[in-house]
């Protein structure tokens, strides 16, 4: 076990820089998506098993807090998907591992270009009211 208080520094310093952060974000986003999948399969089961309970739960999905969480879920999903492709590229074309940093920056460029408009669409009903 690391000394208390060193975990945060380790996260940034173990092997250093982008490669370590890419790995840490991949792991954190992966576990977060896993937790959502567990919730989501159970809530979808309610569509058949208890539709009234499902409708109540879906009202939370459409609420402002729900929308913020969905935007975060989308961010986790998009990062994990893009960095996953980066991992596959380096696994199967090892010479490209030399450019792992550049590949990570490309991931972030796509993340921002795709993620910002999607986040805007998801969050917009918070201040404009939901479509019916």
């Amino acid at each position: 076990m690391p000394e208390p208080g060193t975990t945060g520094r380790m996260l940034l310093r173990y092997r250093g820089g982008e490669g370590m952060l890419a790995w840490a974000f991949h792991r954190i986003s992966g576990v977060a998506i896993w937790a959502f999948v567990v919730l989501h399969v159970i809530d979808i089961y309610l569509v058949g098993g208890n539709p009234e309970a499902y409708d109540e739960l879906l009202a939370i999905y459409a609420s402002p807090i729900g929308r913020v969480l969905e935007a975060l879920l989308g961010a986790a999903l998009l990062y994990h998907a893009l960095n996953g492709v980066r991992i596959i590229v380096m696994d199967f074309w090892p010479p490209l591992t030399r450019y792992h940093r550049q590949l990570w920056y490309i991931c972030w460029a796509i993340f921002i270009a795709v993620g910002l408009p999607v986040a805007y669409i998801i969050l917009k009903p918070i201040w404009e009211g939901a479509p019916t």
Binding site: I42, Y45, G48, T132
Partner: protein
């Protein structure tokens, strides 16, 4: 100076066998999920809004065709494999001995339960014609 080969995925297991098969399957399911999971997210959060959705919307619109049920069931299969094998890797990395065995057993039981629940609902929910 940084190491010439900084990895952010699990290193390819040496020696073949089950671990190598799982390593390949994580990548294959990952590519499948890139398409299926992102499409699914786009449909339910961008093309439609959660405010338009409820249990009858699923029966009447979202799951009104065999194609979309097969799509979501395929997504379920891929995500259960990929997510649970991914968490398995995390557990094996951080937990040892008896606790690891208990956690992994619980993990696999949860995966089987979700497989049953998800498959049951996507295959048996009656189609309700819209109108």
């Amino acid at each position: 100076m940084s190491a010439p080969y900084t990895r952010s995925g699990r290193a390819r297991p040496r020696g073949g066998g089950l671990e190598l098969a799982l390593w390949y399957l994580m990548r294959v399911t990952g590519i499948g999920l890139f398409v299926l999971a992102l499409t699914h997210f786009l449909i339910v959060h961008v093309i439609y809004d959660p405010a338009e959705q409820d249990a009858s919307w699923i029966a009447q619109v979202r799951w009104s065709s065999t194609f979309w049920r097969a799509f979501d069931w395929s997504l379920l299969m891929l995500v259960l494999f990929h997510a649970f094998m991914g968490v398995r890797t995390v557990v094996v990395d951080y937990v040892k001995g008896r606790a690891r065995m208990l956690l992994l057993t619980g993990l696999y039981l949860l995966a089987i339960a979700l497989f049953v629940l998800g498959t049951a609902v996507v295959m048996t929910l009656p189609v309700v014609p819209k109108g």
